[in-house]
């Protein structure tokens, strides 16, 4: 038989196809009636085909096996060759539909034979369109059939079969029936899919039948990337523990194909240090290892290399140096020099009061302590990491010789602590000169200055590790001093410097403070936070116990203080992102004083599920927010923040959370409304989405000053490090609107400082590596600040304004810095554009859109992705963010 010649059945264009479609859709409902009608307008060719097929059906029921066989085979031939476009049912199938019943009946009558299997095959295909939903006839006949090549019947058939398998699988699971025959079929289907660029289908099927391991056999060089991309992206939407399983497979596949950087990413996502180690041991290339170290450094975890991971001492030392982030300051300054923003900026350069008409506040001749303090923070944020500014690091001859007093003493009391610490921020990451410059404050007689110096040491060392442990050595002596501001300075400094390190020494030094009944509440609160930071996400039992004891022992009145909210947070940080591990502690928290019980519960839950995108938890928090509270209960604040912390994991959930928060604004009680701006700030941190910007701008004029203050600070957070002109303008106008209200003006100044964070070179986003990885320390820092902001008046506007320095944990350069194999900066052209989601797309789709070409180092905004614009080099990491080592491409040839 000649293959179907009808152009209508193969062509996907033209009137024929549309007519076909139209005529097929209707008979699906009422086949017989339509069939008769259709006879009339069939073309001659079709008519011939139809009669031919009818003949085959008749003959198939013939008693002569030879004739039967010939008929069935030609029927099969007819069906196979007629596989056509996706949108229409192939002609032979269509014409055979009326005979499905007769063939089925005949099949039942036949004796077992090869012929019967042949017929089963045909029936299996016919069932594709005929069998009523839920009967899975196609699968049934397939299992009875000849088990030939599955792909020969076409894609549609395979896909249908896959669907039926998953249903059948679920049914058999409940019946606890055997699934061997199914699995065999699954194997065939997966192999088929993987060969034909249909990785998502293969993965889906395997997920349905819970046997992802099968995938590893079928991936090859051509499709492993797409497969893994699909796996990792779908992990976000899977309920636990499936997501871990999926990522595990992705890790295995990446390791199989030696795509180490990606494997490392997944290992970090899983927080599985064993896997990280495995990545190091499996790779022998020093350059690649260096790249791994850069990734580890960006993630901000403490990781010690050992002999196994890097056998040679010298090599290991150089690698460890990268992990310890000692290169960060250098790279950041290189970026700053390249972009030409080294020139220090003063707070006035940021306020831009000259752009405001008339309203610039009158006097100006007298220092306002509040405004000078704001200036201190703005100066620290703007010049963060540059090592020079116009207030704190001005040459000593000016400050000592001249009559003008140094900026430090233009701050009042506890303001001096923040001022001294701001020097640490200005010299961020540059431990050597930072310590040298802070040294002079150590000998001051003013306790606030000493406290600031201690805090400054912590800030300078934030994210940087050093063998000599200078922060520990310097600060340890001060934590037991009399003066509580000095103690807090030292304790907070340790927390910042050793965040995420799980340093035993610090635990042994800090836990006794918690147990000491004589310590004041503020010291205890900061100790709890510092321990939480040092042991972030570790589920450390001893630390948890220590904090729990404090929460049980302290009097009710103390627990009612504003700073008491940091205690549950310290506890919560221990379980950051650790999901179920929190349950035992959450159970214990139910026995706490009722004043703090619910608050503690919300905080623990929000921390434990932070960054998971767990929809059920978001719903739980929303439920809590719907309650109308008795006076004095505070737990809804953490619940609102919890929504943001959980939902920030991925874009879709994030958008939904933003909308839910809008609803809370409309219907929520006042204490909820106060937390909403902060939650929005966290959701869009360093990512000024226009709709959020508008909402916050509206709230910044709210009648409730607390809401307005939170909104203003959040405007700073969403624009942090972006130099966003629109937010800058909004804040400038707010500064004139609130020129009379010192507290609000302070918030406006902080917001302005944040928008110009690091002159626009820094980001506060805890997400990195294409928004896949969440740095726990960065998130911990942000959450701590936000919790402190829940009671703005008592903490940030009170005497604990230095909580603003917790942001330093989240500060990272938003750069792409390419370096050569000797780790020297190397300028290459790169395309930077908006990242495009390519999950599940076949072929090699464009990954960025609307790009511009720059030479490195370049700045990356939220949602940006970079790709090399030259073939000359090969990046050692597929993700172009942070430090990326480039290797010369051996296959590269100059064009001419």
């Amino acid at each position: 038989m000649a293959p179907a010649e009808d152009p209508n059945s193969t062509g996907s264009t033209g009137g024929g196809a549309t007519r076909d479609q139209a005529s097929v859709k209707v008979p699906a409902k009422d086949p017989k009636k339509k069939d008769e009608k259709k006879d009339e307008d069939l073309s001659e060719e079709d008519l011939a085909l139809k009669q031919q097929l009818e003949l085959y059906v008749e003959r198939a029921q013939d008693s002569d096996p030879g004739l039967q066989k010939a008929a069935l085979e030609s029927m099969r031939q007819e069906i196979r060759t007629a596989t056509s476009s996706m949108t229409s049912v192939p002609k032979p199938l269509k014409f055979l539909r009326p005979h499905y019943g007769t063939l089925q009946a005949h099949y039942e009558k036949m004796a077992d034979s090869d012929l019967k299997k042949l017929l089963a095959d045909i029936l299996s295909v016919l069932a594709l369109t005929m069998s009523p939903e839920g009967e899975r006839a196609s699968l049934k006949y397939r299992l009875l059939g000849s088990e030939g090549d599955i792909g020969s019947w076409g894609h549609e058939y395979v896909r249908n079969l896959a669907g039926e398998i998953s249903q059948e699988y679920a049914k058999r699971q409940t019946e606890e029936a055997l699934i061997d025959d199914l699995m065999e079929l699954v194997g065939q289907i997966v192999a088929f899919h993987m060969k034909h660029n249909a990785e998502p289908e293969a993965v889906d099927l395997l997920m349905e039948v819970e046997d992802l391991d099968l995938l590893v056999e079928h991936v090859d060089n051509a499709n492993y990337k797409r497969t893994c991309l699909y796996l990792t992206s779908s992990a976000k939407y899977l309920p636990g523990p499936d997501d871990m399983l999926v990522l595990d497979i992705a890790y295995t596949i990446y390791m199989k194909f030696e795509e180490f950087p990606r494997a490392l990413q997944i290992a970090l996502y899983l927080d599985n240090m064993q896997y990280v180690k495995q990545v190091f041991t499996s790779c022998n290339d020093l350059r690649k290892k260096q790249q791994f170290c850069f990734i580890l450094a960006r993630h901000g975890i403490t990781f010690e290399l050992d002999d196994e991971m890097s056998p040679e001492d010298e090599e290991r030392e150089s690698l460890q140096e990268i992990i310890n982030n000692t290169k960060l300051s250098e790279g950041y300054l290189t970026l700053a020099r390249d972009i030409e923003v080294m020139e220090p900026k003063s707070p006035e350069d940021i306020y831009k009061a000259h752009l405001l008409d008339g309203r610039a506040s009158g006097g100006g001749s007298v220092d306002s302590a509040r405004q000078n303090l704001a200036g201190t923070f703005v100066n620290a944020f703007v010049n963060a990491g540059f090592g020079q500014d116009k207030l704190m690091t001005v040459p000593s001859e000016v400050s000592s010789g001249g009559s003008s007093t140094s900026w430090l003493f233009k701050n009042k009391d506890h303001g001096k602590a923040s001022a001294a610490a701001s020097l640490g921020m200005i010299l961020l990451w540059d431990v050597d000169s930072g310590l040298a410059q802070l040294d002079k404050y150590f000998h001051s007689t003013d306790t606030h200055v000493v406290a600031g110096a201690l805090l400054g040491v912590g800030i300078v060392n934030c994210g940087i590790k050093n063998d000599c442990d200078p922060a520990l050595a310097l600060l340890a002596d001060y934590i037991d001093k009399e003066d509580s501001s000095i103690r807090i300075g030292a304790i907070m400094g340790l927390g910042l410097a050793y965040a995420g390190s799980q340093n035993e020494q610090i635990r042994s030094k800090l836990t006794p403070i918690l147990g000491d009944a004589k310590s004041s509440l503020d010291v205890i609160a900061f100790t709890a936070i510092s321990l939480g930071l040092v042991y972030v996400g570790s589920c450390n039992e001893e630390v948890a116990q220590a904090i729990i004891f404090v929460l049980m022992d302290r009097s009710e009145s103390e627990l009612g203080e504003a700073l008491a909210r940091l205690l549950p947070l310290g506890l919560g940080l221990l379980y950051l992102g650790k999901q179920e591990s929190v349950e035992a502690t959450a159970e214990v928290s139910k026995t706490f004083n009722e004043k703090i019980r619910k608050h503690c519960d919300m905080t623990l839950l929000s921390c434990a599920y932070a960054g998971t995108g767990n929809v059920l938890k978001v719903q739980h928090f929303l439920g809590q927010c719907a309650q109308h509270l008795e006076k004095g209960e505070t737990y809804q604040g953490p619940a609102v923040l919890g929504i943001a912390m959980v939902a920030m994991a991925e874009e879709l959930g994030l958008e939904m959370a933003i909308r839910s928060l809008e609803h809370l604004l409309q219907y929520g009680e006042q204490n909820i409304r106060r937390a909403v701006p902060l939650a929005l700030g966290l959701l869009c941190i360093s990512n000024p989405k226009v709709n959020v910007m508008d909402t916050l701008s509206r709230l910044s004029h709210d009648a409730d000053t607390e809401v307005a203050m939170a909104a203003i600070v959040s405007l700073g957070l969403i624009g942090a490090g972006t130099n966003n002109a629109r937010i800058a303008g909004m804040l400038r106008n707010l500064s004139s609107y609130y020129y009379k209200d010192a507290s609000l003006l302070f918030c406006v100044r902080i917001g302005q400082g944040l928008v110009h964070l690091g002159k626009g070179l820094l980001t506060l986003s805890p997400y990195h590596s294409e928004r896949f990885l969440l740095s726990p320390t960065a998130l911990a820092g942000l959450v701590t600040l936000l919790h402190a902001c829940l009671d703005m008046k008592a903490i940030v506007l009170g005497k604990y304004h230095y909580v603003l320095y917790f942001l330093v944990l989240a500060m990272q350069p938003r750069m792409l810095m390419t370096v050569d194999e000797n780790l020297k900066p190397l300028s290459v052209p790169v395309r930077v554009g908006q990242a495009v989601d390519v999950v599940g797309q076949a072929g090699r789709p464009k990954t960025i859109t609307g790009f511009q070409t720059h030479s490195t180092p370049v700045l990356l905004s939220a949602g940006d992705r970079a790709e090399l614009a030259t073939e000359k080099y090969v990046p050692l990491s597929p993700i172009l963010e942070g430090f990326v080592i480039l290797k010369e491409n051996p296959e590269y040839r100059e064009d001419n």
Partner: protein, 482 residues
């Protein structure tokens, strides 16, 4: 003897030998030689802590080639300055006022914005303040009745409060005294105090003060209020019918700016206001006849008050209705045109001197125009400010009368306060005071809320819509030393 390397700031000193038999202090002295940091200021970090002077090397386990880190500088230790800065937050409120650049607002005690705005405008006259401070005089004249006396005292205290506070003041006592003295301000409507006409309040207050502040001994210079606000008018009363003519003199406290169809500018309105018709018995005709009265200014005050006659009694609605017509007024007013011949002569010399001075200033200004970015308005303001300042400084002197005489009026006035009204009738709507501060900035006193404003916005209060419009303007004389 292990050798170690010591990292200090950005420098690395390798191969520093440690004599483990000696105390670490010796090692620190070694480092002193290398770095110049005195041993007591050195902080050397060894694993797990700082190196103590009396530590035992053997217990520290320093290894060959170990890296040590040293912190410390020979820098001067920061010392708190002996005299720390004074922070605005710590200052007493009076001092904060100075830095705020304007005085406090006044709480609205229930439809009292008419009074608040009047008080704010008058409060801006420093000479009035100094006159009030001297009250009551040692010898009290018996002419002043008790209520006037109390109102004056209340005014004095209120002005004092305004100067000393940053936060708004509640003019409770003043209001009580005002209502006692003038019961019409205590009118009730539906149980609440009614809104009143600010002009009435202004006039009555000025009148009371002029009564109470009169010098007890008439031998001294004319009373303070007269000197500050009083305008002498000479009028020629002429009867066209009989040809009779007579001259009259009178003293008023404000000029009226009549608003009619033709009036678009303050100047025209004033001209209008100085001419009036009156009917009186004509001795020659033996019956009442129409007389034309043409007034001219014969003596000028320090502060010229101009009232826009915006309200007229509308019988139909039984209220004072408002004329919304836009009448422009200048920031700088020259009243030369309205002066009598006599006064003009007196003004001529001072005016010439002033013109010369300004010409000189402008000449100077033109030369550095290239560098300056300020426009002419600003220069004018500066010039005004400087002249004002010189005037103020001399006026603050204890013996006031002597320098006063040395100052000559020029007939040129600068706008210093505007009392505006918003609304459709005098007894409703809202009164607001716009006052120029001594630092040259304009402040809108909207009851308890002082808001800084730009000079441009002040001239926009000229009416012609539903925005605030000028009702009373107060101009300050520009004087020159003679």
């Amino acid at each position: 003897m292990p050798t170690v390397s010591v990292k200090w700031q950005k420098e690395l000193f390798s191969n520093v030998e440690i004599d483990t038999s000696q105390s670490p202090y010796v090692f620190k002295c070694q480092l002193y030689d290398l770095t110049g940091v005195p041993p007591e200021r050195q902080k050397i970090m060894v694993k797990g802590g700082l190196l103590k002077d009396d530590a035992d090397w053997s217990k520290l386990g320093v290894k060959e080639g170990q890296k040590l880190m040293m912190m410390g500088t020979a820098d001067e230790i920061v010392k708190a300055p002996e005299k720390g800065p004074v922070f605005a937050e710590d200052m007493p409120e009076e001092e904060q006022v100075i830095h705020m650049g304007h005085s406090a607002g006044l709480f609205n005690l229930g439809n009292t914005c008419y009074m608040n705005s009047t008080v704010q405008c008058l409060h801006s006259v420093p000479e009035l303040k100094s006159a009030l401070i001297k009250y009551p005089p040692p010898v009290r004249s018996n002419e002043v009745d008790q209520t006037s006396h109390l109102l004056t005292v209340a005014t004095r205290d209120l002005f004092n409060d305004l100067d000393k506070n940053v936060k708004p003041v509640a003019p409770m006592r003043f209001l009580t005294e005002l209502r006692k003295k003038y019961p019409q301000f205590a009118q009730l409507q539906n149980g609440v105090y009614m809104q009143q006409d600010a002009e009435e309040c202004w006039t009555q207050l000025i009148y009371t003060l002029s009564q109470s502040l009169k010098s007890p001994s008439s031998s001294e210079a004319p009373d303070a209020m007269k000197r500050l606000f009083g305008i002498d008018l000479v009028s020629r009363v002429h009867c066209p019918e009989s040809g009779e003519e007579s001259a009259e003199t009178e003293s008023v406290y404000s000029l009226k700016c009549h608003i009619s169809q033709e009036v678009n500018h303050l100047h025209e309105g004033l001209k209008h206001g100085l001419k009036s018709e009156l009917e009186k018995a004509s001795p020659s005709l033996g019956r009442s006849a129409l007389y034309l009265k043409d007034s001219r200014i014969n003596d000028l005050p320090r502060y010229l008050t101009i009232q826009f006659v915006r309200f007229f009694w509308k019988r139909e609605s039984n209220q004072k209705a408002k004329i919304l017509r836009k009448v422009d007024y200048p920031l700088e007013l020259d009243v030369y045109d309205f002066c009598s011949e006599d006064l003009r002569k007196r003004l001529e010399v001072p005016r010439r001197i002033l013109r010369d001075e300004e010409g000189k200033k402008l000449g100077l200004k033109t030369s550095d125009k290239n560098s300056g970015s300020t426009d002419d308005d600003v220069k004018m303001a500066e010039a005004e400010a400087s002249s004002n300042r010189s005037g103020d400084s001399s006026k603050c002197e204890p013996v006031e009368d002597v320098p006063e005489k040395e100052k000559a009026l020029t007939g040129i006035y600068d706008l210093v306060a505007v009392l505006t009204h918003k609304g459709r009738s005098a007894d409703s709507g809202h009164y607001v005071a716009w006052v120029k501060q001594e630092n040259g900035k304009w402040i809108q006193f909207d009851d308890d809320n002082p808001i800084p404003q730009r000079e441009d916005d002040i001239t926009r209060l000229s009416g012609g819509g539903d925005w605030h419009m000028a009702y009373i303007c107060m101009y300050k004389a520009r004087v020159i030393p003679m």
